[in-house]
Structures are given as structure tokens and as C-alpha cells.
Symmetry: C2
Subunit: 486 residues, 2 copies
């Protein structure tokens, strides 16, 4: 029996207004001829190797992304996890048409110098409403990479200020920083994890370890890297082995921190902070237990190192809680939480002790973009009014159960179904089979994306409902039948 | 006689529609009580050390920035040089209200994966119309720092590809890049200049040498730095000394490049590119001659090093040409030109040889923001229809002559009037006097900004006209009279 002909679990969330009934492919090839034509034009200007197709954003609606050839895709990739409440949500359209927002759309102010009259209200109405418990400070920034790099900078400045006993930089420190000498330019690092992804700018790329093509040929800071647990799924079936693996990784982190703590010569490198994703996304949707993260948090506190949680991809509700680290039950909150993607604006939350005492230290021309706060306001209003976190949990459970069923039917093809909320993933035997699967799903009208070597990740919008999950599952079963006969 | 009572030179550009007649200060203190109130609220969330006042963007118009207390400032700072055609230009308001643009305002697509249907048209209608001669490629990005860092990455990848004879990275190179080892992670650098500013992310901050407070406490790549000429103004009165100074700097650059060219051990650092601003802005509006820049361009070509021109602040017309490097008369164009600020979108132009052959190498989630292309289209249309480059040249000449007159009247106070178009600057005896000048001008209704240690920079919008320059000059003369009696 097909998934879509079964009864769906009830969700409290209303159906997306005027959404399409289902995906539909109308061209014999995807991308179709019009996409191909645009692609050829763009290829005269830049590398186009990552482009899937050209989209008709005016025609797209809810969970369906329409391309220029009129193909309509069920979107489980969500603009690389950055689509919060679907395409052309009426509340977002309304906000963008609201005359009261026009002046903000028409200027690009320097938020750090001449913030708009209602800037604090806009922060109050959006970021502060969802601020992680215990994190009083917030800075807005442009994108995820920029948010992580500025979090690193805040951590370095905090660490050095702590070493100085709280005093501001001395004249000597200021002078030596201009020629990159000690003590003004310290030899500090951010500890990161194998398989982690924190962006592609030169600082955060030094903490990114997901794919070589992102890193090769680019100079890097030689900062320490710790192992991230390689767990077996389903987690509950491999508890002892997984606990041992996490204990091994925690021990390695402890060794690195212990070594750093014993450094007394300022020429030797010291760890100022560590950064981790709640679920390693680009690296292949790798999970770890709440106990592991609590262990890291405690180690960071013990060794006086900042604990940065990168919620660029996990933040905004798709794990079933607004922030993924809420699943951990931390007693001591993270020191900094970075965000972007579904939040539309970048930025970071931080404990007050990471506030800089001097101006212009965490600063750039724009410090974010107030127009994204307009979108974010509409998004958060809809998340609340439409009970979208509840929807994510209901839909996620339903989708995960369906994926597990298919994995049981095609054990040689699909494995390691995992995740929380709709932030799910599954593995295929090889990269080639995974790519073939994603390609075949696209010909059936599903836009999806891979991660890691052989995984497929689910990153639908929060308005993804059981009926959409059922549509996905039906198509997946068809594709698996084809692939299993190949 | 006051400047504003004299006849103004004619400009072909129409007056800004419904602009205010003049600046006006209505509170006894600036920032006024409403700004103070907002400031106190924001200070609970972040460092606010760089904030001047809270602005009423809906009430701002043309060259006048209105604050929440109803003070109206003549704006010669232009949102740190990022305001192209004034506040609330009717053409920008129209574009933002255009129903055809609504779908683009309401989504935040991944431009590198699912570009909008009209994306290539939007690039054609904007960036390609103003592309520097000889630079066929363009990539959009988020902001100036992001543009520079991605330009560095493109340069590193180009340099390594060249060393490899054009082949893609090998398996060994890919693998070693994951652990930051040779040969995958090369020891390459970007040569920069003392006093230069290229942003504050960890890579570009390593090439920024303008102010210590931007750099202190942050780890840096130990990359080479060359001297930037310290010229005497007015340039034409010190030709021989200035030529000697530029020759000295070129010689030092040559020595660094020669040294790099002789490196054969891959463990030793090599220069892959150099970056320079046409006018060092944050560093104090430091100029050099076209011959100096031609010399650098030729040295870069001779030593096989990429020549990156950072036009983040100079680009977009305020020097009287759309790109400041057009003043140099280069026979061989720059290899890469980065932009942001007045362009509203970040990005870089490049020669075709800097195009990556593999996808996902110059990549991030958003790759810019199409809504900024809507603004940019309106901006470029107005620059053309209203002859704004001509306006900049006429207004700039008039303002520069007026500043020189005041400098002659107050020689102990104002010196080194310099610049091109309205991209002007002048010096004060000390940082303290400069800050006092900027503060007093603010109490008279002028929003302006410093740069370097003791300079004031002019960064008005392109719609700044002789009458606005006259208003500035009148207020400046009043302030100089007060300061000279102090």
C-alpha cells in the first residue's frame, strides 16, 4: 500500500494556503531546456558546477519549488536548510508589501553606527524571543561563515582579556598586533572536530573538515582537531559500543585541552575555544548523544575554553526544538550560539562575559541586514501561530517511520535512518548509488540533497507535513525498486 | 562671503526630489533623548561603542539623514561610503514596491544552486554594464570582507593550479588538505600594504593594517607587508619627493616578490597575490600616483602573482569614474576587482583564468542576495539617467576648492586637502582636534566620519551637489573659527 493512500497523523498546523497538490515533471529532462539555456549564459561568467536548475520563485509555493520549465518539485532540501516556512508564505509576502517596511527595504544602513529607530524593537520581537536560555547578548551579522568567524574573534578577545586580568589591550599589545607579533597577535586556536563544517572563509575553513574540495589549495591555521564519535545506528541498538566511542573522543578532547592548559610559553599555541555542530550536517549527518555534548561542555568549562555551538544549520526548529542544543539538557548553557540560514539573518548569541568593552572590535560596515529581520518576524510569528514545532515532530516521526520501513524492505540499499524532527538522514551503499538515487528522485519531482560521502539529508521547511512526507515515501519506494533491480 | 551665498557651478543632474532645504538640529544634545533611550536598551545586548545615533530612515531623504529626535543631518559620510544615491530615492522606492520584485524580496534563494529565472538578466543589467574592461567573470557575494576572502581563495586555487600545470587536485593533495599538510594545504600568502584595510574576517584581517584595535588579540597569518607610499600634498607641489617615495616602495615590493620567486621548498612561504586599495581609506585616505599602481601591476605580472584591486570603498562612482582604478591608465587590467558598499551586493570581477574548473570551490549557501540586485539596478539607472558621475566631478572640484580656501584661511588647523571626485579628505593637527571637529560639525547638523589618525573623509552619496557642498563649507568655516580661537 502506498504511503499516500494511508491515513496521515494529525498535525495542529494548517495546510499551506493554496499549495500545489503534488509534484509534477513536464520536461523529458531535468534540468529542462529553459534552465539549460540560462545555464549556458551563466557559464560565460562563472563556474556553474553546483547549479541544479533555474527556479521560478514567483510560481513556487509552500513545499513546492517550480523551475523555469514549469517542473514542480517537492522540496526536501529547502535551499540548503535555509527555507523556514516554504515559498511565498502569505505572511512573508504581506510583510514585504507592508508600506511601513518600505523605508527599511529601500536603505542598507550601517547597523553598528546608525541603527534604525525600531532596531531594538525588531531585535526584541525576533531574536530575543528565541534566544537560548542563559545567553543575554546578541550580535547580528551577514551569513553563517561571518557569524562563526566573529564568534571566534569574540572568543580570542575574551581569552586574551582574561589572561590580562580584565584590562584593555596595552599600547605595546596594540603596536605589536600591527606587525603580527606577540603579545598583540597571540598564538590561539579554535578546537574543532573531524567531519565538522563551519564555513569557508579562511578562519572558519581552518575548522571545517567535511570535504577536501572545500579546503584544497587554501592556506589554513594549523589548529587542533579532535575526533567526532562515529556512532552506529539505530543508536538505541548499539548503546554500549556508542558509549565507548564517545568516551574515547571525550578523552582525546581532554588530552588536547590538558596539553593546552600546560602551555606557559606564549609562542606555543593555546586553545581559546571549541566549536561543534549539534548534528554534523555537511559531514554526513553524524549524531552524538546528549551525554557526549554535556561532557564537552563540562570539559570546556573546566579548562577555561569557550564552548561555541554552531546552530547555523540545526537552528530554527527543524530538529523539533527551536535550537538543537536544547535536546542536551545542559545545566551550563553554551558560551556562544551562532545562527544563520533559516533565521535569514546571521549572528551569534553569547553570554554577557563575551561582550567587548571597546567599540569597533566586533564590527563591519553593515552588521547584518534589517530587511532579513522583517522576514524573520513573519517567520517566527507563523512558527508560533501555526504550531510548526509540533508539526515538525509529528511529520518527522511519520517520515522517519516510513524511511525505516523502506530501509527494512531494501536493506542492501538504504540504511542508518537517523535524526530528530524532520532533520533526518539515511545512507546508501556508495557515493555513486546515493547520487543515482538523488538524480532519479529529481526526475520524479523531488529536490533533495546529499551530505557526507553516501548520505541523503532531509532539510524541508517547517511547513512540511505528513502528506508531503507520504509523497516523498511513495516516490522513494519507486526509485528503490528501480535501483534494487539494477 | 559664505559659500552658500555664492553662485554654484552648474551640474547636469536634477535636484533630489523633495529634498530638505538644509540641515537642522532641534535637540540641545546630539544624540538626543530618544536616541539615548534606544542606546540604553541596545547596550543591554551588545557593545554600542560605534553608534552615533538612531536614525529615522522613513524621514530621511536625499543627502539628509534624520534621527529619531527629528534632527536632520547633512550626510557626508554616506553610511560609511555605502549610500549610492541618497536616502529614499524614488526609483529605489519604486523598485521595492514593484509587484514583479515581490517574489524575490520574499525568498532567500541559494544563488549557486537554484538561481532565479531572471538571475542572468539581473547580472546583465547591472554588474556586466559596469564590469571593468578585461574582466569577464563575476561572482556575487555577501559583503566586502567576504568578497576579498573569496578573491584570495580564487587566487590561491589559481596559483596552485598553475603550479600543477593545469590539472585538478590529486587524491594525495585532496587527502593532505584534510589535515592541513603539504601539498594539499600550501604555504601561500597575499601581499598587502601598510595602512591598508581589506576587512576583518580572519584571512582579510591578516592583510589589514590600518588600526590596531581591529587586529589586537586575533591570530593572524604571517603574510608579508610592503610599505605604501607616504606622499606629500598637494601632490603636484612635491613631485620629485613623491616620485622618490613611490620608487622606494616599488623597490621593496620587488624585493619581496623576487624573494618569493626564488622559493623552491614548498614548506617556505610564497606570494600568490597582492591586494591594494586605489585610495587607502580606513588608513587615512592615502593616495599614490597612477604610475605607482602601473608599476605594481607590472611587477605582479612579471612575477606571476595575481593583482587584486580592492574597490569595496572606492568603487561605484565617487572618485569621478565608476572604478577608481580607471584613473590609472592600465594597459593590463587588474586580475581581480572586489566590490561591495555602494554596489549594495558584494562580489568580485575577475579575468577568465581565475574561473574555477570544479564546482563548490567558490561557494556558500547564499552567494549574495538577489534583493540587492534590485536596488543596484535602480542605482545604476539613476547614475546614468541623472549623469551622476559628471555631478560627482563638478561637485568634487567645487568642494575641494572650498576646502583648500578654508585650509588657506586656517593653516594651523586644516591641511592636506586631497582626493578625486567627492572622495576627498583633509587632515587636522591631531586625533583629538579631528575628533573635536567632527563632534562640533555634528552639533551643527553634519554627519561625517574620520579615517586614519587625524583625517576627515568625505563619502557623500553621488547625489551630493554643489549646494550641499556649500552648506558643508559654511558650517566648516564656523567650526574652524571656534577651534582656531580655542
Amino acid at each position: 500500500m502506498s504511503s499516500s493512500s494511508r491515513a496521515f497523523p494529525a498535525t495542529p498546523s494548517p495546510a499551506f494556503p493554496d499549495e500545489y497538490a503534488h509534484a509534477e515533471i513536464v520536461t523529458s529532462q531535468v534540468p529542462g531546456p529553459k534552465s539549460q539555456q540560462q545555464l549556458a549564459r551563466l557559464a560565460a561568467l562563472q563556474n556553474t558546477g553546483a547549479i541544479n536548475f533555474f527556479a521560478d520563485y514567483a510560481a513556487s509555493r509552500g513545499n513546492y519549488l517550480v523551475d523555469v520549465d514549469g517542473n514542480r518539485f517537492l522540496d526536501v532540501y529547502g535551499q540548503i536548510a535555509s527555507l523556514p516556512i516554504g515559498y511565498n508564505h502569505p505572511k512573508v509576502l504581506e510583510a514585504m508589501s507592508d508600506k511601513d517596511n518600505l523605508a527599511m527595504l529601500a536603505q542598507r544602513p550601517c547597523l553598528g553606527v546608525f541603527p534604525p529607530a525600531d532596531w531594538v524593537d525588531r531585535i526584541d520581537d525576533t531574536l530575543l524571543k528565541v534566544a537560548p536560555a542563559g545567553l543575554e547578548d546578541v550580535n547580528t551579522l551577514m551569513c553563517g561563515s561571518c557569524s562563526n568567524e566573529n564568534a571566534y574573534k569574540a572568543v580570542f578577545m575574551w581569552f586574551q582579556t582574561k589572561l590580562r586580568g580584565g584590562r584593555p589591550p596595552s599600547e605595546h599589545e596594540l603596536e605589536t598586533s600591527m606587525t603580527h607579533q606577540l603579545p598583540g597577535t597571540p598564538n590561539l586556536s579554535i578546537l574543532s572536530f573531524q567531519g565538522g563544517f563551519h564555513g569557508r572563509l579562511l578562519g572558519c575553513l581552518s575548522t571545517t573538515h567535511s570535504k577536501a574540495i572545500h579546503k584544497v589549495d587554501v592556506p589554513a591555521f594549523d589548529w587542533p582537531v579532535a575526533p567526532f564519535p562515529k556512532l552506529k545506528y539505530p543508536l538505541e541498538a548499539h548503546q554500549a559500543a556508542n558509549e565507548a566511542e564517545e568516551a574515547r573522543c571525550l578523552e582525546e578532547v581532554k588530552t588536547l585541552l590538558e596539553h593546552s592548559a600546560q602551555v606557559t610559553n606564549p609562542e606555543d599555541s593555546r586553545i581559546a575555544g571549541m566549536i561543534i555542530e549539534p548534528i554534523q550536517a555537511e559531514g554526513g549527518d553524524n549524531h552524538a548523544s546528549p551525554a557526549f555534548f554535556r561532557g564537552l561542555r563540562d570539559l570546556a568549562a573546566k579548562y577555561g575554553v569557550a564552548f561555541i555551538v554552531d546552530e547555523v544549520q540545526t537552528g530554527g526548529g527543524s530538529t523539533g526544538k527551536f535550537w538543537a542544543h536544547e535536546h542536551w539538557g545542559l545545566e551550563n548553557p553554551p558560551d556562544l550560539v551562532t545562527f544563520s540560514k533559516k533565521m535569514q539573518t546571521g549572528g551569534y548569541f553569547a553570554k554577557k562575559e563575551f561582550r567587548l568593552k571597546e567599540g569597533y572590535r566586533i564590527f563591519n560596515t553593515w552588521m547584518g541586514d534589517p530587511t532579513k529581520m522583517i522576514t524573520l518576524k513573519a517567520v517566527l510569528d507563523v512558527v508560533e501561530s501555526d504550531s510548526l514545532l509540533e508539526n515538525v515532530n509529528i511529520t518527522g516521526d511519520y517520515l522517519k517511520a516510513g524511511l525505516s520501513e523502506i530501509a527494512a524492505e531494501f536493506p542492501a540499499l538504504v540504511s542508518n535512518v537517523r535524526g530528530q524532527g524532520t532533520y533526518l538522514a539515511m545512507d546508501f551503499p556508495t557515493e555513486a548509488v546515493r547520487n543515482e538515487f538523488v538524480g532519479l528522485m529529481k526526475t520524479k519531482g523531488v529536490a533533495s540533497g546529499g551530505c557526507g560521502v553516501n548520505s541523503v539529508r532531509f532539510r524541508p521547511a517547517l511547513v512540511f507535513q505528513p502528506k508531503h512526507a507520504a509523497e516523498y515515501l511513495d516516490k522513494m519506494r519507486e526509485v528503490c525498486e528501480v535501483l534494487s533491480k539494477a
